[in-house]
Symmetry: D2
Subunit: 322 residues, 4 copies
């Protein structure tokens, strides 16, 4: 049995793209990068590759103020051109340590002043929560220092905060940024079973990933998820001759678009207008698609803390033409 | 059997507030009002009343450009003061005609220029969709004039766009407005099984309701839901000595806050900050509550078309202290 | 000499609309209203009337927490219909007491959290500044409790925060609101020598004015101007058969539009799009007008504290066709 | 006479920083860069240097769709560290060709849909205006194809759209971006006689400049100014041990801060909060400074078209302590 088929079998998946030759690649990152940008690739992979790897681990997860370990990548996807769409199927995202950290911080968060919402109010106090992760029971537990209830246990829903290609031209966005290149979308929907479609702005696409969250609330309002390192399996592929403007997502229930921008309504509109365009590809007229979104659209405000906010617009697949 | 218990039995509900005397009132509205404001009440009711009524029907639902029939109410709730919280339990919301209307309009909508997002672009074209409603099968069907697929059928999820008290002082907001007084929140969560808690700004509260949607997408992006008239059963009650700042919602799964404002991020923040305050009432510390929302909050952008946008912030009840 | 001509002479003005009969009316308000709305007029006046009056005085100006005295009006302008434009020429705005008050407040302001920008930060402290006004030298002086410099003297630039007609239909907006009906625009440009043009939404227009500021910074960032009561002389007139969508202003240098809304960019766009339309009335093509604004427009953010923000877009009259 | 003193004399300026040794450097750029970022410097200069140069010329200015020639720089300023403030005094900005171009574009502009304000409306049409520049009379003239008035002449007010240092870390922002690093602020205030103070994020600062506008309206609403190439003379200096967060400007009348961000209110708040901090450096208490801004602040919305908007907050120097 070929390793890729083995992976597929272990995960209970139908073999992907079985007609084409599938590679399976194991990659252990040794360096994390602070920006999404064109730079020397860490690896060249072919389309239709199962990439078995992990996010970077580092002090960010283990001590207060520790530096963020950065993004894994870039992976140069052979044959990818600016006329193509990159396909990243999330096969596995699973915490690989027993601890996650989450912060409330005077300098960063969605319900408070910070460096972008600059006000005369005093900043809020900073506080760090350590969460013990149990990946057998798939729960996390932390203490609540100021609550009647001393601790809390919640179920885990592991996700990747960041999946990206290199942005346009010579631009280099810090790891906190989401955009049309993907990046730090911080969307809980980027989890096992979801496929992420990304535009390609450079030959080779330059795929990055990182920023695992054992769980994250919609909006990521306090500024972080349950930040931890992850074992990751991605199936990376290419659709030739297909151009999109913004990251699209798909799972069993929905087709989705992740629009990012500030103000929040811009992210909302970007996501929904791109979704109208996607529906047109399914044969809906433009105004019919708009009217239909008015009745069946769903949405998630994914993050309200990053330099650009992210909104995920969703259309239930059961309303797509068969 | 008392009528209220009969209602409860018919609906399969536990009798509400059974220790206190419960009234059941049938009210057939004859006039709809264009604003939320203090005005001569249509009826005085006691706390702990089951109100069996319907929204106004009118030309708005049957012909293009027909005037909106307005809000039902105000109901003067005896004993309600500005120190209390009004409780409106949605027992029943069900379309009572076979037709709903939905518009795409050059003058109003979330993914386009309109009177508030005033731009130099040409307005989009207007179009009206008539939906046939089948409340036995609980589906709606319309034709899609410009799509490969000629028509579409979707399941119904009836809701009330508007539940309100009179706003502060002498202010009178048109029916399109949501705010801290409730109003046109256009939240799909305001459906059977949900309880709406409202602040009281005047003695008597002055309860209004209206604007039935047989279904509405999250965001109401195209400007309307499946607009139709509804049979409505509400249980109206009062919590004495309890003050809240913004409408709160509760169903079997979540406690929720509906924050309204422009820009969208303001609505988002209002909803989440009020939710932090609600969690504090459950014994969570302020920063613990914030931190926890960061991991388990859910949200819906309810509308992006009204004079104020509405965001519903949600906290899963399974994480509340027992 | 007729009183109106006397007024004109005293002010060094060319008699206004001398061909038509001009009235001069002295009106001393005894009651202030808390909303802009249709209500029983305090006076009926004809077009082409010089109205000599004053804003309400009250505890708001003399003690912390004193209630705002409300708006003067409404004046029913005979013959005004929804096809007409109301003309309000500001002939005189002059403080008529020796004191003005200005607040920094935990509950209201532009560089801080408040009831609309609701955050988890602690509110800022409140503080009240009393300003002594000298209308001979036209200066104001206050003490600066926390500054190296113990006090400061600034020149006065008296203005009216509020000039309004009754808004559409049965809506009633509290005195803090600006909108297409004018209202609390808080634009420093509404001063002696400026003409305010307002749309008319009801027969009779229902003119209101109030909220004198002996001076106010652009943006009114701390929440108030130098709040005081004013002697006011307005010339009220009508342009028949002329419809506008938003308040327009004109002085010796500029034609201007005051757009109000939230978010701030909406106010900005409303003001500039209406200005493009005004330029089209002067014979500029739509895209020429837009292009020209790109090179010669000026703007003021008038307020960032009211329920809707106000931006004044300006076009220099020297670039208008002769 | 040393060249720098010659320059000063020619311009009627007091010699700058005469106690220290002043360099005068002539630099003719041969390459323009598309991003603000750390890269190999084109030149190393000492603090207290008069830099005589010009912006890049290129096809952008002469034919529709021509590529933008990019930024001049980076100049490595010797001795600059992240504890210092870079000082860039604008001694001269003067068009050096007889032509400027300005666009109205379906893809970019402030009163229309574009790639960031993505809507379902059809885009507006594109149009290019060529302006003849007469730097003797200091006027520009263009034809107005759709206006009753066939052409228009306006006075020139040359400015630099972009003055920047390299942004933090490895980030690289495209030339359209403004930020705390300066960049494409598009503020008309960046003209002869104005000093720009910039924070330093890297040793050497990495100064860039470019994007000359023979004139530009406040807001740059249509997307461009009168775009042309410029002769530029800058005096570049350093204040050691002085840290600022955002670009500060100073001219004869005002101290100013240029805050950039989206939404517009964020840019507004950044500018004004930094201005409060600057006033504190002059000895004003924090709340006194806030209160005073409420009465005497002035502002300009500089651009509403770039990836971040820019607002300039101003405080009149006559109210500063002597």
């Amino acid at each position: 049995m070929r390793p890729s088929l083995l992976v597929a079998a272990l995960l209970g998946l139908t073999p992907i793209a079985s007609a084409r030759s599938q590679d399976t690649v194991r990659f252990t990152p040794t360096v994390g990068h602070p920006t999404f940008a064109v730079r020397e690739p860490v690896l060249r992979i072919k389309p239709n590759t199962v990439l078995i790897s992990n996010t970077m681990h580092g002090a960010y997860y283990t001590r207060e103020g520790g530096p963020f370990p950065g993004e894994v990548g870039p992976f140069y996807v052979e044959g990818a051109t600016t006329n193509d769409m990159l396909v990243v199927r999330i096969i596995r995202v699973m915490p690989n340590t027993g601890l996650a950290a989450a912060n409330v911080s005077g300098g960063f968060g969605g319900l408070q002043s910070d460096s972008r919402l600059r006000l005369l109010n005093e900043p809020i106090p900073s506080r760090r929560y350590l969460w013990e992760l149990d990946t057998t029971r798939m729960v996390g537990r932390t203490t609540l220092p100021d609550s009647r209830q001393q601790s809390i246990e919640i179920d885990l829903k592991p996700m990747l905060g960041r999946v990206a290609v290199a942005p346009r031209g010579q631009e280099a966005f810090g790891g906190l940024w989401p955009g049309d290149f993907g990046g730090n979308m911080d969307a809980p929907e980027v989890r096992e079973g979801t496929t992420v479609y990304l535009p390609v702005f450079h030959e080779g696409a330059y795929l990055y990933f990182g920023d695992g969250h054992a769980r994250q609330g919609e909006g990521e309002v306090a500024g972080t998820g349950l930040e931890t390192s992850m074992s990751v399996i991605l199936h990376v592929d290419l659709v030739k001759g297909k151009r999109i403007d913004w990251p699209r997502l798909e799972d069993a229930q929905h087709i989705m678009v992740a629009g990012s921008g500030r103000p929040l309504i811009d992210a909302f509109r970007i996501a929904h207008v791109e979704l109208v365009e996607w529906l047109q590809e399914y044969g809906f007229g433009k105004w019919d698609a708009y009217a239909l979104l008015g009745q069946v659209a769903e949405n998630t405000v994914a993050n309200v803390v990053d330099p650009a906010y992210t909104v995920v617009a969703k259309f239930p697949k059961r309303f797509l033409p068969r």
